[in-house]
């Protein structure tokens, strides 16, 4: 096996080790750290959704932050997407995907909320409208 080729890295592959063998214990350790972090974040999410200690209107934002953090944990520890130079292509594709996802979700919510706000109709009148 060659030692220090500077090739790109496939997504899902761990960092190519400079040593000969792919160092199994380090790989297990990475996955285990990821699992523990994900469990902590998931448990926190369920706790945040059920507790009455927190300020109610802030709970959805907190849940969103926890979910995005957990997605980051999955990307780094399970999919091995890193900031290293051998992973640039994967990160750029991911960045484009995140851009499109953000545009689709935020744009849909924004424009539909705007339409709803502009269509001020009483619920009774709205039901009449929908029955036809």
């Amino acid at each position: 096996m060659t030692t220090t080729t500077r090739s790109d890295r496939a997504p899902g592959d761990a960092a190519p080790s400079p040593e000969v063998q792919p160092t199994a214990p380090a790989g297990v350790l990475i996955y285990t750290i990821g699992l523990l972090l994900a469990v902590v974040l998931t448990a926190t999410s369920f706790w945040v959704a059920n507790t009455s200690l927190l300020w109610g209107p802030g709970v959805p934002l907190g849940l969103a932050v926890l979910a995005i953090a957990q997605m980051g944990v999955h990307l780094v520890f399970f999919l091995h997407i890193t900031t290293g130079p051998d992973s640039t292509n994967n990160v750029l594709a991911l960045a484009f995907g995140v851009l499109i996802v953000a545009l689709v979700i935020a744009g849909s919510l924004w424009i539909m909320a705007n339409l709803n706000a502009n269509m001020t109709m009483s619920p009774g009148l709205m039901d009449l409208h929908m029955q036809r």
């Binding site: 060659t2 199994a24 998931t42 957990q70 594709a93 689709v104």
Partner: protein, 210 residues
């Protein structure tokens, strides 16, 4: 030595920068292409998420999420999928070092947990439909079944794929093409878990807090 080593030997020189090193190995090209497919799949899920978020309050007088969702079921489903993602990672380590019994072992755990997830989800769907909360009932329920059902469909396809891959390992061994497919499978399985993180947050947890 092994199949991965022969692919690595295609790289000509240790000192050549990545841009001038010639074509990337097939493993990298295949995984990158599959990565782009997964991102496009996630974009499709983003559209379903957006539809769900917009239609969430459109219950048309029918049941809302707070009355339908069982948080304990969602928590068990989450645990199943998270641990199966972990064992899938351990399986890919076993594949890298070409340990066949460990590969079968972790694949079996991954498969059982995936089946448990799917069974819980189908049971939840069945109980909702039995209560009259069918996809036809309201815009909210249409969006719910489209979003969660599409994810469940992906999990089902992943389970079939896992069986096929284990058959290939059994009959073809750890040849390079099988290893590439196994890499794609593990990417797919991890991506499904990432989508589930968004799903249990947006659907189940945000559904019960309102």
């Amino acid at each position: 030595m092994n199949a991965a080593a022969t692919v690595d030997e295609l790289q000509p020189d240790a000192l050549v920068p990545a841009g001038e090193a010639g074509p990337a190995s097939k493993r990298i090209v295949v995984a990158y292409g599959f990565w782009i497919f997964l991102l496009s799949d996630i974009v499709m899920f983003a559209a379903l998420f957006a539809a769900y978020a917009v239609l969430k309050s459109g219950t048309a007088g029918g049941p809302a999420g707070a009355q339908l969702f069982n948080q304990v079921t969602a928590a068990i489903e989450t645990a199943c999928l998270l641990v199966s993602s972990y064992t899938c990672g351990l399986m890919s380590l076993a594949i890298r070092s070409q340990r066949r019994p460990a590969t079968y072992f972790f694949a079996a755990i991954t498969f059982v947990l995936g089946v448990a997830f799917l069974a819980l989800e189908l049971r939840e769907f069945a109980s909702m439909i039995a209560e009259g909360a069918t996809p036809q009932r309201s815009a909210f329920l249409s969006a719910f079944f489209a979003l969660v059902g599409c994810h469940g469909l992906h999990v089902g396809v992943g389970l079939i794929w896992l069986i096929v891959m284990m058959a290939q390992v059994a009959f073809m061994g750890f040849r390079a093409s099988v290893q590439r497919r196994l890499l794609c499978f593990s990417l797919f399985w991890h991506a499904l878990d990432i989508i589930w993180v968004g799903l249990f947050t947006v659907v189940y947890l945000m559904g019960i807090i309102q």
